[in-house]
Symmetry: C2
Subunit: 287 residues, 2 copies
DNA sequence: CTACCAATGAAAATGAATTTCACTGGATCG
DNA sequence: CGATCCAGTGAAATTCATTTTCATTGGTAG
């Protein structure tokens, strides 16, 4: 299933020649994918049976299956291994940003604890009112997005990125309110203060952040996302894609938690939009 | 190279059995990818040699190569064909959202005209002031994101999603100002009015939208993005990922257009953040 | 009507992948 | 310290998948 991690050999389960093969495969995906077992064996300096055993140990059916899996994987997930080359041309920048974003999506899919997402969706669904806190541009985008997705479903939600305001909101929150917080780093101390206050007041909190961070510790339910950070300061982090996907999944689960309400709400928005625009039904909910 | 299009057989180059095979392959990628030529032949009701010939006609080396190509393709681009099955479990939702997002990234990478991006980057770089207009949640997110990326680079930029305000801003814009607009549908008539006004006033405009749409027609430079739309009303469109990636690439090109300025600006932001937070240098620019 | 050609499958031939088996070197146990 | 075992490995044999060859069919053009 997860060939990439098998190839990375974190558990050290591979023998020395197998590790050599793994490294060779990671570095020469294209070659491997287009070669016969004999060519690969020769090039990597091992015998064909060793290659077959290697494939089996990785959880594949055999060599052909390995090639297929590798080809599937090649598009995603692989580039983490390659050192971050400073890029300059538009082609390079585009390629780099796209593949990092895809990696981030791949990673978040692997990491997301769906049981936690479902729990969070239930809490949000059941809430009388949702307050979404996130600051600093990135998390602000995330909570705005949550607002954008949830108000359509008929949820009562407010998004805010003003720390002082958040503190007042936290102090005034009524039972029935659920607070959602986002922080990539988990070190948004303004958010931590709010969460502590909310815990004292027994208002339930959900956060999307790094596990083990101050924000995570201060919250009731943690949607944990850990992303490796790039080194290129000119480049925004690809973590945003991961968070955005997590929000999408969460919002979708909220919708499914009460399809009827969501459907009715979406439908009236749609009708109103169609009436007010040019009557073209193909349009999106939101531009 | 482009197996997907070959399989779609637009030119009708395939014989009847081959067309049958193509359809079967598109509908049963997983089966094909995991089967031998004999199993496939049997299941599709043809003989193995026909399968081999079919693979060759599609531009592959042979059957194994075909499987590899198909596996590569399967992750991307293919799901567009499948009717959108209503999904319900968290696993299905997560998988579907992630793969759609990855498809969107793949597509935008394929479509983006990098020459246009570079042109836009030059214009934004040279501008005294940038106004970014986008409404309806999705495009609002995009222009906020552009703001978030460009202010860091030392650009003077304002993002706005208030149509009346945008109209006033357009009427008041000075030479040296560049307007950036975003609209997924290209039918944001408020934006079109602004663009028309700006054209009269000879203020340069850049838009990110669908080619051929009213918004595109009314603008000077068009960053064209066309995304197929999903049918699931509960699901937000994956177009956001494509737009976000395009913004990332654009912002990065702006940064590279004047590295020194960008570096100095980023550096002072970073210093200030480090001073004001807990001195941990690993933190991001923005949370 | 005949000859040709494209499409197809059966059978043979090829060649790749896997299994078997034997060997090696290092670890373990008495 | 030596005997034994075992994991790891490759050579050779085997199996099996793939491809090629060739014959057949059905349709089409002259």
């Amino acid at each position: 299933m997860d060939l990439f991690h098998a190839l990375s050999d974190e558990g050290g389960r591979l023998s020395s020649l197998e590790a050599k093969l793994a490294q060779f495969a990671l570095e020469n995906v294209d070659f491997v994918v287009n070669s016969s077992i004999i060519e690969l064996a020769e090039r990597a300096g091992v015998s064909p049976p060793t290659v077959t055993r290697f494939c089996r140990r990785l959880g594949c059916q055999g060599y052909s299956d390995f090639k297929v899996q590798l080809a599937k994987m090649a598009y995603i997930g692989l580039r983490y291994l390659k050192p971050e080359a400073p890029t300059a041309t538009a082609e390079e920048v585009a390629h780099d940003i796209i593949s990092k974003a895809q990696n981030a999506l791949f990673e978040v899919h692997r990491q997301l604890d769906l049981a936690v997402i479902e729990k969070a969706a239930q809490m949000l669904r059941a809430a009388d009112f949702i307050q979404a806190f996130g600051a600093s541009g990135n998390s602000a985008m995330i909570v705005n997005e949550l607002h954008n997705r949830l108000f359509r479903l008929g949820c009562h939600i407010n998004a805010s990125n003003d720390h002082n305001m958040n503190l007042m909101i936290s102090a005034a929150a009524q039972p029935g309110t659920v607070i959602f917080g986002s922080s990539y780093t988990g070190r948004d101390m303004g958010l931590v203060h709010c969460l502590e206050l909310l815990r004292q007041r027994a208002i339930p909190t959900i956060v999307m952040t790094q596990n083990g961070s101050p924000v995570a510790t201060a919250a009731d339910l943690v949607i944990a996302i850990e992303m490796p950070e790039g080194k290129n300061i000119f480049r925004p982090t690809s973590t945003r894609y991961a968070y955005l996907a997590a929000i999408d999944i969460l919002a979708n689960m909220v919708a499914y938690a009460d399809r009827n309400r969501a459907f009715k709400s979406l439908r009236s928005i749609k009708e109103e939009l169609v009436r007010n625009r040019d009557g073209d039904d193909r349009q999106l909910l939101g531009d």
